[in-house]
Assembly symmetry: C2
Homo-oligomer: 449 residues x 2
């Protein structure tokens, strides 16, 4: 970038909201983005670095002069700072961490120890807490003083003055209704306080925050000392990440850590080839099943015409049922122990849906035969019957298998959302062929077979 | 429920958080839930009715004596009240609405006019606003007085004292840092205020709230008068609803308005049969394609063995690409105009993935032939070549079609998330068969064909 363009861009950025500035900076190379951040007002540069939407934060930090980087990073919220440090390579991390303020360094070293996607990795240690023997006035003064350096001050945590354990919470809206000399406990929440442990899964954290409509959820250790809080906006980012992962998994992909356009060609191939190849190997069983019925196929080539139609109907009904049950389990509308209720619903549902498709299939064969579009041979009525019954069997099997798969995965300790549409289709395809040929042998033996 | 059980349940509920109480009430019949709500402390009953997770709110209201219902409903936040009223039948709605306080009635009649899934239908009219010539002290006094009746007081909207248009916002955390006699504008936000129109789609509202990490987003009319605010917790519920709908649509289902177990058998059939039947009709084209190649099939029955394998590979690669692009478009990582960049990536990606699967397929045929598991006949080498090249063609076509479909849907005004895995598979199946047989004719003509 030449100097004119640089000055122009810097001036433009200064007038943007941080969300817009992030979007604009995402279009630059990290080196240019680093130079631009260095000349922006410090407060704005910090706000930009705090957005998880900034795509190349670690690369941008790497391109900055270390003293500039450290000056900015010292002020970044420490949950976000931890995320940035976790993506830096070992060398830069070591170089930068020594320059951070002592307190910041201790905080992020602690945060970096929690595994990804846990409450501990999402939380910030920048919250407000006061001893339970303080007054409303003392608390309000503290909030006024520290509000610029805390992610949220709308929930203030009240600690036991003797042992420092978490006692309760007071919201800022309630705090301001108290008289300055009232004890802070007089305006505190009287309900049981909802807390999570630092190793709680982020999906469960999201569930709790949503269930109780909280702005922040405290994270406590076994002795009920508060370690940090997960705020609602960090939780929203985690939710979006989770639902993206689930959507990709359902499509039969590994999850991606970068936006589509930022992923290199070969990592994209790696992310996609694994599942495709695994499904391909599973699907090879269809070739074996077909080989098994080769004699029947030779005698009644007309049967092959309906193979794709019948297989896909099984896959489609399975994919419907799986997507339905994955969501119901994720939203906790249904529990693991309800599997048999679901089975008892899916079997009649499958039979009904199969009968509808079977009827359409039979009508199709009758019309084509009668109108002379195609001649299915002298036994066309039996072929229509075969197709009709096979569809009932396959759609029932598809609905049943598709609905049970998420339960089985959850039971054996996997995420039910690992059940993908292609996975279900592959499971159903082999059985679908066997059902089809078994029906054909039963209906057509003595005539065509 | 007998009296003993009833008293026990009522006593237990009184000790629950509202989230737990909602979960417990969801297990009761509406009539019992209504009796229990009527005996709970009024404040708790209102909080319970405010949870969107309460599954039968309209039925419960219907079971209450009208004077009890009206007394509670008058205090329910009016965005939630609107949702409940929208689900009531015409008669109960008319009967109850006349009993509501005048102000509440006017508010919900206004809110009910906005279409579902818009900012207008999500917003609450219970926010705090002050004229721009007020002082910090006056504003704080108002907040203290009204905080019990407002969904949020953390954002206070500042209106132009002359014409009442929305000027800016002041957060409660900043407000408390001001001196009582300072003008409220001295602590107000100086950045441009983000607003939306009442007809904005809820997905875009969610995107703005997330982008700017807001706790509430103001909704304004054309002349910039504030109509209401969308709070972050209402937005989270809307996001979950949207991602559930998207997940179901991707599985090839219509969206559901109730949890799995609460949907009647026949409405479940209706929700699923439509798409299944439509896909079935589309998939019938495969039978026509097969009929077209019947002569080839008769001559080379060995070709049929690989039909399921090849078709499913096309479907799987298409489903991967579709899920990937639906998410990228939804997260606005990619815009409509980027379609050609995506096409330029997906074609080489598809060729590479197809070559990988093709190689596995060829190796499988070689092993089976050489090890004597199966005899593909004297032309087995040509058959292996056919399968290999067909896989390259089909996976490339699948990845390309799957990636373009969300763009096409968005271009013609549909939601890209309407592209389902079964829909993509159906699209790819027919073409997949044509590719397979075309390759077969090219490679095998003069020998097998």
């Amino acid at each position: 970038m030449n100097t004119d363009r640089f000055n122009m861009e810097a001036a433009a950025l200064a007038g943007y909201t941080s969300a817009d500035a992030v979007e604009h900076l995402n279009t630059f190379e990290p080196a240019d983005a680093a130079s631009l951040l260095a000349v922006l007002p410090q407060e704005q540069a910090i706000e930009i670095l705090e957005q998880p939407e900034l795509q190349n934060a670690p690369e941008i930090i790497n391109e900055m002069r270390p003293n500039v980087a450290v000056r900015l990073l010292n002020e970044v919220a420490n949950d976000r700072l931890t995320d940035i440090f976790q993506e830096l390579d070992e060398t830069s991390r070591a170089r930068l961490i020594s320059g951070l303020d002592h307190k910041v360094r201790i905080a992020i070293q602690k945060l970096m120890r929690y595994p990804e996607r846990t409450a501990g990795s999402l939380m910030t240690t920048e919250f407000v807490s006061v001893p339970g023997d303080w007054t409303v006035g003392q608390t309000l003064d503290l909030v006024k003083r520290v509000q610029g350096t805390r992610e949220t001050v709308y929930a203030i945590y009240v600690l036991d003055p003797d042992n420092g354990t978490l006692q309760t919470v007071v919201t800022l809206r309630r705090l301001i209704t108290g008289e300055p000399d009232d004890p802070v406990l007089s305006v505190a929440q009287t309900d049981t306080l909802v807390t999570v442990s630092p190793l709680e899964d982020q999906a469960d954290v999201a569930h709790e925050i949503r269930r109780h409509n909280m702005l922040a959820l405290p994270v406590v250790d076994e002795s009920r000392h508060i370690l940090g809080i997960v705020t609602v906006d960090d939780m929203i980012d985690a939710m979006i990440e989770d639902s993206t992962d689930d959507a990709l998994k359902f499509g039969g992909m590994e999850t991606l850590d970068k936006p589509y356009m930022k992923i290199g060609f070969f990592s994209m191939i790696r992310k996609r080839a694994g599942w495709l190849a695994a499904l391909f190997l599973g699907e090879m069983l269809t070739a074996s099943a077909m080989q098994h019925y080769e004699i029947a196929l030779e005698k009644a080539i007309v049967l092959t015409l309906f193979i794709p139609l019948i297989m896909s109907s099984g896959g489609n009904s399975g994919s419907q049922a799986t997507s339905l049950l994955i969501r119901s389990l994720a939203l906790q509308e249904i529990r693991l122990r309800d599997w048999w209720r679901v089975a008892l619903r899916e079997i009649p549902t499958g039979i009904t849906l199969g009968a509808i498709l079977g009827a359409i299939g039979v009508i199709r064969i009758i019309i084509w035969q009668k109108a002379g579009f195609y001649d299915y041979g002298e036994h066309w009525v039996l072929i229509a019957i075969t197709v009709g019954f096979a569809l009932v069997g396959i759609v029932t099997f598809g609905s049943f298998t598709g609905s049970m798969l998420p339960f089985i995965l959850q039971r054996i300790g996997f995420d039910p959302a690992s059940a993908s549409a292609p996975f279900v289709a592959t499971l159903v395809d082999v059985t679908g062929l066997i059902i089809y040929f078994s029906v054909a042998v039963a209906v057509l033996s003595g005539t065509l077979l």
